[in-house]
Amino acid sequence: MLRYLIFAVWEAAISLWRSRVLNLLAVGTIMFAMFILGSFVLVGINLQKITVNWRDQIQFNVFLADDIDQSQIEAVRGTIEGSMLVKSAQFISKHRALELFGQDFPTYQTTVNALEKNPFPASFQVSLIRGTERAQFDELRVVILSREGVEEVYYDEEIFKRLDFFIRLIRLAGWFFGSIMVTSSIFSISNVLKLTFFTRREEVDIMKLVGASRAYIRGPFIVEGILIGLLGSLLGVSLVYLGHLLLQTYVADAEPFLMASLEPVFLPMSWVFILVLAGSLSGFLGSLFSLHQFLEEHISYQ
């Protein structure tokens, strides 16, 4: 068994080297397939991070009745902060609300100051944790509304809808594109390997005719396919990393004030691993199939 493995790997290495121009073409094509796949995942991960950051900032206001007492306020606070969905909640007193209005609309400062009675209610300003779904929010809303002293739960319906829709769109596009990318990468990798091996039909025919057994013909081809796939995907992932570095520099230069939380992240190790594995696997399958399709049909053992 070990002897066989050594044979296969050694033969594969020799053959890779001997037809290196051809193999470089294959490696190059695979590299680009994996690069595109990797870039796509990279952009996907970063887009998700950005949208999650945005959603993070979805807030809603719980307006309280004017006649609410301190224990009721605490009860409402308990309900809000007790929810798993809530990241933070800030109490804004009637007085503070007036102040904030004055700050937001400095034009009305005098008008507001002239009022006898503070018309603004006390409220909780609540931030939701990342990735909260619409349905979960609706549930929470009902619970809070049922508390005594709560007048209204106000939120910007439009923004919620839009963000929700946007995130679903991205996710959909992600799945849609992701599956296309994976399929087409594997398809094109196996195509390229088939083409590469197609140039060696004759060699295989001869090996068969002089009595080499199946395993000894297939072994080196399969190892070669795996090595090409491995090399191609490693190079592809490296290219993605390069692209990531470029993007990082660009973003850092461009929008320092906006970007604190938006700095692009690289693929997590698990994804790097998945990509390289996928490359090797398609190398393996590609060579297996092309062996079957091209290399063994001509002189069949029947």
Partner: protein, 228 residues
């Protein structure tokens, strides 16, 4: 060693490449196969190594029915047979040494032993100095001799040679034939397809003649007495 019983082979409808071929070839025999261009010599050899399956009839080689042996036994059958192909069939991407010893390598024979054996057979065909050349760097006759070396490197029980001297000068051709004789004397059955009447005459061995796919003449085995 080789037994053909009413073998027919055909590539196209209604045209038979071999027609009702029957003959026996005993272990240790040296047989020439001759006939005009297109008579069916190569086709007959292809049937022996199961490169093709006959349309009709039975073929026994080394005790095995080659039309019906299981697929996974074919490599072993072929390894027991050394073949010099008419078009050489050398692997272009491998050196002379690798071409000659490829099968030995798959059998797990180590490099030192392979080197020794390759040197031995290449010397017999006068090509020890071309060990590391690639086939395309060899002259026609040199390629043919590499094919001969590959056929005999594994001490086959049966040696098939299809026009093995077509690209060789007469002196070299005689040398190769003498080499085949030597191998034959060591017990290997030899079947040589050739056009070279001079050679056939000089060797004085059994001759099977084909014409348009039919066996029209067989000088008969000279070993019948010995074997029976």
């Amino acid at each position: 060693m080789i037994h053909f019983y009413h073998v027919h082979q055909s590539y196209q409808r209604n045209i038979l490449a071999l027609k009702d071929i029957s003959f026996d070839c005993l272990r240790g025999e040296f047989v020439f196969l001759t006939g005009a261009s297109g008579a069916g010599k190569t086709t007959l050899l292809k049937l022996i190594i199961r490169e093709e399956i006959p349309l009709q009839g039975q073929i026994l080689v080394n005790g095995q029915n080659v039309s019906s042996i299981p697929v996974n036994k074919i490599p072993r059958l072929r390894r027991a047979i050394g073949v010099v192909f008419q078009d050489f069939k050398l692997i272009r991407g491998k050196t002379v040494f690798e071409n000659v010893t490829f099968v030995l390598k798959t059998l797990g024979i180590d490099l030192k032993e392979r080197r020794k054996r390759a040197y031995h057979v290449l010397k017999q065909v006068g090509l020890q100095h071309k060990t590391n050349a690639y086939p395309l760097e060899l002259s026609g006759g040199e390629q043919q001799r590499v094919a001969v070396a590959r056929a005999i490197v594994n001490d086959p029980v049966l040696l098939l040679a299809d026009e093995p001297t077509g690209n060789l000068d007469p002196d070299m051709a005689v040398e190769i034939m003498n080499l085949f004789s030597k191998i034959n004397r060591r017990g290997t059955t030899v079947l040589v397809a050739t056009h070279d009447r001079e050679m056939i005459r000089r060797m004085g061995k059994r001759v099977i003649t084909l014409d348009k796919g039919q066996l029209i003449h067989d000088t008969g085995s000279q070993m019948q007495i010995e074997e029976t």
